[in-house]
């Protein structure tokens, strides 16, 4: 359904993505894992058409979205939903107004129908009574659930999740993870999740893609990833501090760095 081919992206002299290839299949949950600063968010922005890659293509069915600009992206964007890391709810609008915004914008439905739809979306995330509150009056977990309800407003075919459980307590994290699983299982929505939460990926993913140094290090089912003999993959999924993945992000030699002229 979503196919990335040879994605490359540099920020100045720093290469963030260096030829990413992967396929996210329809009605499946694909987790993209990688360490912090490993280019996951950049890849996600490229997948939703918010950022142009320096090279490579992203196909949604047969549509190359890297070739589209401005309003040309609208047909694609009406078919997707996006849950941002911090929710990105519009703080000047109530919860209900946030969710109804894309519906009002893109459908000719009247107010009563829209109100019913908003209640249905809020019921999906378990927050039906919170319609009239403002995002600032909600906890972080609730904001993410409202943001998910908004992402589902137009009944998208694909939903992208950017670090959906980061900064949340374990219970709320489990609730969000279960919601992702339910969306896929009950509504058949294709889910693409970018995160570094390995445990949650192992629980619900159909496919895991691990990024390392701007490239795809490994991909497969959770069982295949767990059975991988690659020491980098093993270190990543076990979270061990010792192994080939260095704690130090600096590329220059420490001893050379200390030799001040």
């Amino acid at each position: 359904m979503i196919r990335a081919h040879g994605i490359k992206k540099n920020y100045g002299v720093r290469t963030v993505l260096n030829g990413i290839d992967f396929v996210a299949e329809q009605k499946k949950i694909t987790y993209i894992l990688g360490s912090s600063g490993g280019g996951k968010s950049t890849l996600l922005k490229i997948l939703i058409g918010a950022l142009k890659p320096d090279d490579g293509q992203v196909f949604f069915r047969d549509m190359d979205i890297t070739k589209l600009r401005g309003t040309g992206l609208d047909p694609f964007r009406k078919k997707i939903g996006m849950l941002f890391q911090q929710g990105a709810l519009l703080n000047s609008l109530t919860v209900g107004e946030n969710i109804s915004l894309p519906i009002r914008e893109h459908t000719p439905l009247d107010d009563n129908i829209i109100k019913i739809m908003v209640k249905m979306k809020l019921e999906l995330v378990g927050l039906r009574d919170f319609e009239d509150l403002y995002p600032g009056q909600l906890s972080g977990g609730m904001q993410k659930r409202v943001a998910l309800a908004r992402a589902l407003a137009l009944d998208p075919e694909v939903v992208f999740f950017d670090e959906p459980t980061s900064g949340l307590d374990p219970i709320v994290s489990s609730v969000i993870t279960k919601l992702i699983s339910d969306l896929n299982r009950v509504l058949g929505i294709t889910c693409i999740v970018v995160t570094h939460a390995v445990e949650e990926a192992m629980k619900i993913a159909n496919k895991i893609v691990i990024l390392y140094k701007g490239m795809v290090l490994a991909e497969g089912t959770p069982a295949e990833i767990q059975g991988s003999s690659d020491p980098i993959v093993q270190q990543f999924i076990t979270g061990s501090p010792d192994g080939p993945i260095s704690f130090h992000a600096s590329s220059r030699d420490f001893r050379e760095d200390l030799l001040v002229e």
Partner: protein, 262 residues
């Protein structure tokens, strides 16, 4: 010296880039304004009255207070000079013309640029860094129509209205001071004012206010839309927004005064 030349060169290139981006933002804003006006459903969602209220009504007390004091101050200064030659009768006309042509539009625009333009930048900049604008784009909602157009139309209505009220209030301030402290008869003050003041004086102020409204909205929103980074950058953009719009207002005011009366 070489560094200074380099700095100047970079600043000039940045200025040209900003100017070009402002032009595209203005073009998109005008285009999206027509889209909004012709779509009743979107128009009702735009909360134009709320914008006009926020920009106009809430700025009114400050603008009127400053305008009244300005009228008094100008009357005091002018009377100080004219006392020497016994020309008190010229005070009403001089004050009225200076206020309607120049001081009313200029002072109102500067107050609104500091109060409203800065708020536009801070709000839109905060939305940018918290990914709210990216969220709008991802929902296929045009951020210019959603964020800029309502402010554009709101200020285009509010600023000329505020300017006209401010000019009348400033003249009233001058009238009260002149008739109570300088001994000019009230009927003489009114007659002298109406004899000198022309319709051109009033409408040139309104036209100036319209142009200043465009400057304040475009600069305020543009500075917010291009913010990258965090809270510190939002603060810097807000400061830049006030500085840029203040400079642009003063430069354009000089150009327009020259065009109307030069």
């Amino acid at each position: 010296m070489k560094n200074f030349a380099g700095y100047l060169g970079r600043a000039f290139i940045t200025f040209l880039q900003d100017l070009s981006s402002l032009y595209y933002l203005f073009r998109e804003t005008v285009l999206q304004s027509f889209v909004l006006i012709t779509d009743r459903k979107k128009l009702s969602q735009a909360r134009l009255l709320a914008q006009i209220d926020e920009i106009g009504t809430q700025s009114l007390p400050l603008v009127l207070a400053v305008a009244a004091l300005l009228g008094v101050a100008m009357t005091v200064l002018i009377s100080f000079q004219l006392k020497e030659v016994g020309g008190y009768n010229y005070i009403p006309g001089l004050v009225a013309v200076a206020i309607f042509r120049e001081m009313g539009p200029l002072i109102t625009a500067l107050i609104v640029a500091g109060r409203v333009g800065a708020a536009f930048t801070a709000r839109i900049g905060t939305m940018k860094v918290s990914e709210e604008i990216l969220a709008l784009e991802t929902m296929a909602i045009n951020p210019v129509r959603f964020l800029v157009v309502q402010r554009f139309i709101g200020l285009l209505f509010s600023l000329p209205a505020l300017t006209t009220l401010a000019s009348f209030t400033a003249v009233l301030g001058g009238f009260l001071f002149g008739s109570t402290r300088l001994g000019i008869r009230p009927d003489t003050y009114v007659r002298e004012t109406l004899d000198v003041l022309t319709f051109t004086d009033v409408y040139s102020g309104v036209i100036k206010a319209g142009v200043f409204a465009v400057i304040i909205v475009m600069v305020g929103c543009y500075r917010g839309l291009v913010v990258e980074g965090g809270a510190e950058e939002v603060g810097r953009a807000t400061m830049l927004s006030v500085v840029s719009s203040t400079l642009a207002i003063i430069v354009l005011d000089t150009v327009m005064t020259g065009a109307f009366y030069g």
